[in-house]
């Protein structure tokens, strides 16, 4: 997905002279062409994410469209107040693109984990949150949303689904229809969800935009009272979006996501998938148990 990020940005920089790239001292080699071709709009800002976010706000005030890039904990948690006030409160068009989602950088330890990014960004009015499942989907979603005059967060994962869909910003897709319940797959969890649930008589919905949340598609595709959200971030993050989407209808909600605890082991992301119960086998077991299959 990172390679696609570079390709999409460099292509757009050639077309859109308002696009400015700010790197938090990562991805500098990857963007070497941008540094050469668009040197006046490509900056390695350094390791100062708070200032980088405010600088982006200043650029946006001057009719530019900034793209900020760093590792998730530094792009989001370190500078949360700058995102809140400078970008969201002032309602400025800026795009934050993170890598290292949840425990992608497992071996680097908890300082580089970020399963809480979506939960805190969801608390900010006006913040758009996009979680593509494949590189092609990133390209499609970024082009659709980057210049829409709102702050937007793009969460890039090391995990990628096998198949890309014709996704649309702020709209969910119905992947399959069934009767026992609804499984909501977020971004790169779709692969595991399909492996876990393709033989189950369930509806599968695919979300690549979390905010704004497409409540209509969920509300219209709940064949039973059972809803399961498979979340690549802290479990239960989307509970309030689901609650508001259902408009008072009683449901049984289950979340399969990252446990709300510091994951103090190292290894690889797939080791944490096993420990957190997020492999397709685990998801299948948990779905069957919840659905009484």
């Amino acid at each position: 997905m990172r390679k696609q990020f570079v390709n999409t940005i460099e292509d757009l920089m050639a077309q859109d002279e308002s696009l400015v790239l700010l790197l938090g001292d990562i991805g500098v080699f990857g963007f070497r062409n941008a540094f050469e071709l668009y040197s006046e709009r490509t900056y390695n800002i350094g390791i100062c994410e708070q200032a980088m976010t405010s600088v982006a706000a200043g650029l946006a005030k001057e009719k530019m469209i900034p793209v900020l890039h760093s590792i998730a904990p530094f792009a989001v948690e370190r500078c949360f107040e700058q995102i809140k006030i400078d970008l969201c409160y002032q309602n400025l068009p800026a795009n934050i693109v993170s890598v290292g989602s949840s425990y992608d950088y497992a071996s680097l330890g908890c300082t580089h984990h970020c399963p809480g990014d979506v939960a805190i960004l969801s608390a900010l009015p006006g913040m758009e949150i996009v979680i593509p499942g494949t590189p092609a989907e990133f390209d499609q979603l970024f082009r659709a949303a980057y210049a829409d005059n709102n702050p937007t967060y793009f969460r890039l994962s090391e995990q990628s689904n096998q198949q890309s869909y014709d996704v649309e910003f702020s709209r969910a897709l119905v992947i399959q229809r069934g009767k026992l319940g609804t499984v909501v797959a977020i971004g790169p969890t779709l692969n595991s969800v399909l492996e876990a649930a393709h033989e189950l008589d369930v509806t599968i919905l695919y979300y690549t935009t979390i905010s704004p949340f497409d409540g209509d598609t969920l509300r219209k595709n709940c064949p039973s009272e059972k809803v399961v959200v498979v979340e690549p971030f802290y479990e239960g993050t989307l509970a309030h979006e689901v609650m508001f989407a259902m408009k008072g209808r009683a449901i049984m909600l289950n979340s399969i996501g990252v446990p709300r605890q510091f994951l103090t082991s190292y290894g690889h992301a797939k080791d944490h998938d096993i420990a957190c119960g997020l492999t397709s086998e685990h998801i299948k077991e948990r779905l069957e148990h919840f659905l009484n299959v």
Binding site: V20, R41, Y43, A51, L59, K61
Partner: protein, 257 residues
Amino acid sequence: MKSIINELKRLIVKTAAAAGEGHIGSAFSVLDLLWVLYAQVLRIDPKNPKCDDRDRFVLSKGHSSLALYAVLAKSGFFPVAELERFTAFDSFLGGHPDHNKVPGVEASTGSLGHGLPMGTGMAMGMGIRNVDRRVIVLVGDGECNEGSIWESALLAAHHRLSNLTCIVDYNHSTDRALSLGDIAAKFASFGWATTTINGHDHKAIYDAMIRTDPTRPTAIIAETIKGFGCKEMENNPAWHHRAPTQDELPVILKELA
């Protein structure tokens, strides 16, 4: 010049008294700086506050909003009578300035440490777009405790933002917590051109503000007195955020007559 400053101070005091709140001491600390800026330095059009060909001013220490509102109103950005509704529920003049509400306000500030990095981004954006105007940011000395101030000081010097000026309102009010020492030397060590002035001397303010360095950003360290012009308030922490009582008001207004 003293008569207009005292007129603005009386307006500020009456505004705070009517609202029952306000950072009067901070407003008096920066008022001379703001008045010289708006009256003599900034290229602006109050009738067209978003004109591209304008200088940008960011009040990073947003709690000095009463001074900014008084100066903006007196400069013609909105009617002076609007100050009578300061901090009312549906007023556009809040305790801290809102970019999306107040004509002439370039950035929403209040949480400290945001204005200088935003001004840095504005200066960079103006450079990219070849807009030949200046960005002037006013920060507080206490605000210079924030790391983001020094992050942007590094950035502005590294990118040689000669169109950026940072004024430091050095009233020493937070020395009790964290002494900043020689702020001019600190900015100079980061690569800025620096000058230190009496922040209540209008000629010194003007002379400093019209000077820029063609190769680097400029920091003006303005030595000021919090609550300047009102003996009861000067350097008195009790007046950081409070309004005069009905008994105090006439005494203060008389002193500012």
